[in-house]
């Protein structure tokens, strides 16, 4: 099942939202920017390939702007 490219507007909205928080779950991002979670997941996937965001595993998986959260102290 090809999902096609992500919507550029949603990608922008994801980046804009992530700039306001340390990290967020994709479900929270979807709720905050008012988009479907599946579309947000796709946008995050592309942004990760573009090195703009990264996935973090801290008890569950979060998304953050690349480099925003460091290694544990």
């Amino acid at each position: 099942m090809e999902k096609g490219p992500a919507s550029p507007e949603i990608k922008e909205k994801v980046l804009a939202y992530l700039a306001t928080v340390e990290k967020a779950k994709s479900k929270e991002i979807a709720a905050a920017i008012g988009e479907k979670k599946a579309d947000v997941d796709l946008a995050v996937k592309e942004l990760a390939f573009e090195d703009k965001v990264e996935y973090l595993y801290i008890t569950t998986t979060f998304v953050a702007l690349k480099g925003k959260v460091g290694a544990p102290q």
Binding site: F49, I58, T59, P72, Q73
Partner: protein
């Protein structure tokens, strides 16, 4: 440029010719000797799988050694089982015994088939995990040394599947084993306010506690633990490094028995706790190895042929199990967690 999402290698590239030819056409198998499975295909082709034990935590030198044996005796084809055993896939019957001798010369035991003890499924422990209440590899090594004869022989009433998990996350799937060794804590977490304040989501931490023992403390921007409610599961530590639960003086090992996952004869079942606590006594955990051996021996000398450990205990009754083993029955054996009631005896029929 690396490929992305290419998936694992295709298994067909890994199969020996005899399997490619007889894929889905195996007729039956027998166990000609401990550690060897002989599979016979519809067309009469014969495949010998030689099963060998491994410590699971292995170096690349070990893997290369096994590869050298596989090249010499079975054209370079081998596999691993779901219990971390190695299986050499031999299509030439004449090479089975020489391969076994070569393995034994390297100190690699051959066995784990049929009515034997298979390798112990286990987890990372002190070697590589952040939440363990005990080590895994060390206990497994000590127990397998002690029960070696049950791996290389098939003298048990039925299969014996043992598992070891170093904390209640139970990465190693201990809860449905014939015998499970599980690392347990016995004291509540000590809250380190500073660490909790740093990067812990307080609501998630509060929600993580299955007994509702954790309350937020707005004054310290941290949490407090109601120690009476805590049953030391350690889930909060997984959520926050500020919930320090490791306690060398009190951590140890619990033993559960009688679970199984196969559907043969009786439904799959959970293991049940028979020893609530044994001390952590590295490097060889003598209390644990002794308890496990004792349970295995009482089972081996009392069960009927073909009975898994749990089937035997269910037939004779758990009250009888405690009498036969001499293991003391205490208030700790009676469940007081959320699904406890179904384990209470609501019948006036039982044994003395």
């Amino acid at each position: 440029m690396p490929r992305i999402d290419a998936g694992p290698p295709h298994y067909k590239e890994m199969l020996p010719p005899i399997i490619l030819e007889n894929y889905g056409k195996w007729r039956y198998h027998v166990i000609p000797r401990p550690g060897v499975l002989k599979h016979v295909a519809e067309n009469g082709a014969e495949l010998y799988s030689v099963r060998a034990g491994s410590p699971r935590l292995v170096s690349i030198d070990f893997i290369r050694d096994m590869c050298a044996l596989a090249d010499e005796y079975c054209d370079g084809f081998l596999r691993f089982t779901s219990r971390n055993n190695i299986e050499f896939l031999v299509s030439d019957a004449g090479k089975v015994e020489p391969l076994i001798s070569a393995l034994e010369a390297k100190g690699i035991p051959v066995g784990g088939t049929g009515n034997s003890l298979s390798n112990i499924v286990h987890t990372q422990g002190w070697v590589h995990c952040h939440t363990p209440a005990t080590d895994a590899s060390g206990i497994v090594k000590a127990v397998m040394d002690d029960l070696h004869e049950y791996f290389t022989d098939m003298k048990l009433p039925a299969k014996l599947k043992v598992a070891m998990a170093c904390c209640l996350n139970m990465c190693g799937a201990a809860h449905c084993s014939d015998i499970a060794m599980v690392g347990v804590h016995r004291t509540p977490p000590r809250v380190n306010d500073e660490k909790v304040q740093k990067g812990t989501e307080i609501p998630s931490l509060v929600a993580s506690c299955p007994t509702g023992a954790i309350r937020p403390n707005p004054k310290t921007k941290s949490v407090v633990v109601n120690e009476e409610k805590c049953m030391y599961c350690g889930n909060c530590y997984t959520m926050s490094p500020g919930m320090e639960i490791a306690d060398p003086k009190n951590d140890g090992v619990a033993i559960l028995i009688g679970g199984k996952t196969s559907n043969a004869r009786t439904a799959p079942s959970f293991s049940r706790m028979v020893i609530p606590f044994l001390p952590n006594n590295p490097p060889r955990w003598p209390e644990v190895t002794e308890a496990v051996r004792h349970i295995v021996e009482v089972y081996a000398s009392n069960a009927r042929q073909g009975e898994r450990l749990g089937e035997w205990v269910e037939r004779i009754g758990w009250e009888k199990f405690f009498i036969l083993t001499g293991i003391e029955f205490t208030d700790k054996h009676i469940d007081d967690y959320i699904f406890s009631r179904e384990t209470f005896r609501t019948s006036a029929a039982f044994k003395f």
